[in-house]
């Protein structure tokens, strides 16, 4: 470690590369299992089982899907504009993954070689930069639709990108209330403004104006921005074949798929940070028993899987599930050590809140019908935008009232 003493640039480079590698690995696995999670939950809403055959509880299904995507034949429409056709999915995925580099998963005070270990890019203007990255993400969709040189993708692409830029305005405006409360663009300052317990979070705070309307506006605009149900007309199967990614096959389609889920994760991370306190815990810091919650959670998962192995599973599923049980048990025992607690607790609360948001996304997908396109656009411009503006004005009024 003394090798890095006089070379801050080299330390920054090495630590950043390690963080990027770890984050990419964790993120790719999380994306794959998010598809599994979605299929399972939607299936259970529709009174059926999701994937359960490929591994124990269908846990190896994402692996099978990945192998399928890798080995499928890559068909390129002959009249497509080659350069743009190949650029579009790469652009979509690269931008979606870049946005996650700005997200803090834990307190910035825990450092390694002088660099915070839970943020890949610790900048002072994270919020507005994240919006910049999501605004370029529109191009992935528009160019994909255009370069396929076919009617349905073009229509789907144009509609989808028009929807994205419309809801981007409301999304950005509904966040300005939080900016007024936190008086800074950086994520670390916004989270530090919510320190305390659950009553200090921006969505419930009484020091200003509780941003409940802002949060609801933001969540609606975020669902529309990521092209998810009920706003997914441009990529619906029944209306537009498959929208802007009709002509894409195999790996490029998988890239669009991953980009959509990565966008979902990004906007949920942003909602967590801005409105729900990020990696802060809802309980006051004086309640020290909360440090054992990660261990309790992991041991509970291990216990449930052990019960499944003994009672229900047959054959090779027993082996697979017992591996999962072993991993969860080892993780739970490691989390019992008090020295690990400061490192684990931030990430645990962040991931727990993210999980709630993912669950919300998937439940909404399973239950709501989709909007028609003109209903979608009029909702975005005629309802959501005025409500975001009103939220901004009311928040500013109450802040001046309380803070003088």
């Amino acid at each position: 470690m003394e090798f890095f003493n006089g070379k801050p640039a080299l330390a920054l480079l090495v630590v950043s590369l390690v963080k990027i590698a770890v984050l990419l690995f964790v993120l790719m696995t999380a994306l794959a299992y998010l598809t599994w999670f979605e299929r399972k939950v939607v299936a259970h809403i529709q009174s059926r089982w999701g994937p359960y055959y490929v591994g124990a509880h269908g846990l190896l299904q994402p692996l099978a899907d990945g192998v399928k995507f890798l080995f499928k034949e890559d068909v390129t429409p002959p009249t497509a504009d080659k350069f743009v056709y190949i650029l579009a999915p790469f652009m979509a995925l690269a931008l979606a993954l870049t946005a996650i580099a700005l997200i803090p998963f834990g307190p910035p005070t825990l450092t390694l070689l002088g660099q915070p270990i839970f943020v890949v890019a610790n900048v002072s203007i994270s919020l507005v930069f994240l919006f910049a990255i999501t605004s370029i993400g529109v191009y992935g969709v528009a160019l994909a639709g255009w370069s396929s040189n076919s009617k349905y993708p073009l229509l789907g692409g144009v509609r989808s990108s028009a929807q994205m830029i419309s809801y981007e305005v409301s999304m950005t405006l509904s966040v300005v209330g939080v900016l007024l409360l936190a008086r800074s663009f950086g994520f670390n300052e916004i989270i530090a403004n919510q320190a305390g317990s659950i009553i200090n979070w921006h969505v419930f705070t009484l020091n200003g104006f509780p941003q409940i309307i802002g949060f609801l506006c933001y969540m609606t605009a975020a669902v529309a921005e990521t092209n998810r149900v009920p706003f997914d007309l441009p990529e619906a199967e029944t209306e537009l074949v498959a929208g802007f990614h009709t002509e894409y096959s195999a790996f490029k389609f998988a890239m669009f798929f991953m980009a959509e889920y990565a966008n979902m994760i990004t906007v949920s991370c942003l909602a967590t940070i801005l409105f729900f306190g990020g990696w802060l815990s809802p309980f006051p810091d004086s309640w020290t028993w909360q440090n054992y919650l990660p261990a309790a959670g992991l041991l509970l998962i291990a216990a449930y899987c052990a019960y499944d192995v003994v009672v229900y599973m047959k054959g090779i599923a027993r082996l697979q599930l017992s591996v999962v049980t072993l991993l969860a048990a080892v993780g739970g025992i490691v989390c019992l050590i008090p020295a690990v607690h400061p490192y684990i607790i931030g990430v645990f609360w962040f991931v727990a809140k993210l999980f709630v948001f993912m669950f919300f996304y998937v439940i909404v997908r399973g239950t709501l019908p989709r909007f028609r396109y003109d209903q979608l656009m009029s909702f975005g411009w005629k309802f959501l935008l005025p409500v975001s503006l009103a939220n901004l004005v009311v928040t500013a009024f109450f802040i001046i009232l309380r803070r003088g």
């Binding site: 900048v123 910049a132 605004s135």
Partner: protein, 168 residues
């Protein structure tokens, strides 16, 4: 050393993309090159310490104005540019003469009074321009241009709506 590498890399990308804008045969490739220029300029603004302006450049210029351009190109189906014939001599000699003129202008400027002031001084400290100071200036000192710009935006919206309506 690293700032110089970054600067020259970004300058190379920006100039390369601008040349690609001139050389491209399809308007959509020109539009993509212009987006690349804007993004590299945004990173150059970061090197100059203007963080908020770089984010505004990406959000507004690269993320909204260029989307408008790409939409219009897609909807009007602007195809390959037709090559109308103008003199081949002008095509080859023109850029060379322009290059010499630019070099001559650059040399003359850097030896003039204003050039000497600008070219020799490096700014003292690199403190990023504060967004709070910028917004104070916009809302206190430059309030009139700000209000005038908002009226301009309203006029532009009305104008675009009127122009885009099909004739009655």
């Amino acid at each position: 050393m690293i700032p110089f590498i970054l600067f020259f890399l970004l300058a190379f990308v920006a100039v390369g993309a601008a040349v690609a804008l001139i050389v491209a045969r399809e308007p959509i490739h020109s539009a993509l090159s212009l987006i690349l220029v804007m993004i590299s300029l945004a990173v150059l603004y970061l090197l100059l310490g203007a963080e908020f302006i770089s984010a505004v450049q990406i959000i507004v210029y690269a993320g909204a104005i260029m989307v408008l351009f790409v939409f219009v190109i897609m909807l009007l189906n602007a195809g390959v540019e037709e090559r109308t014939d103008f003199s081949k001599l002008a095509k080859w000699v023109g850029p060379i003469l322009a290059f010499f003129m630019i070099v001559e202008l650059g040399v003359w400027l850097s030896r003039s009074a204003i050039g000497r002031v600008v070219a020799t001084g490096s700014p003292e400290s690199y403190t990023p321009a504060s967004t709070v100071g910028l917004s104070r200036m916009i809302f206190q000192q430059y309030l009139l241009p700000f209000e005038a710009t908002s009226i301009l935006i309203l006029i532009a919206i009305i104008g675009a709506l009127v122009l885009a309506k099909k004739g009655e």
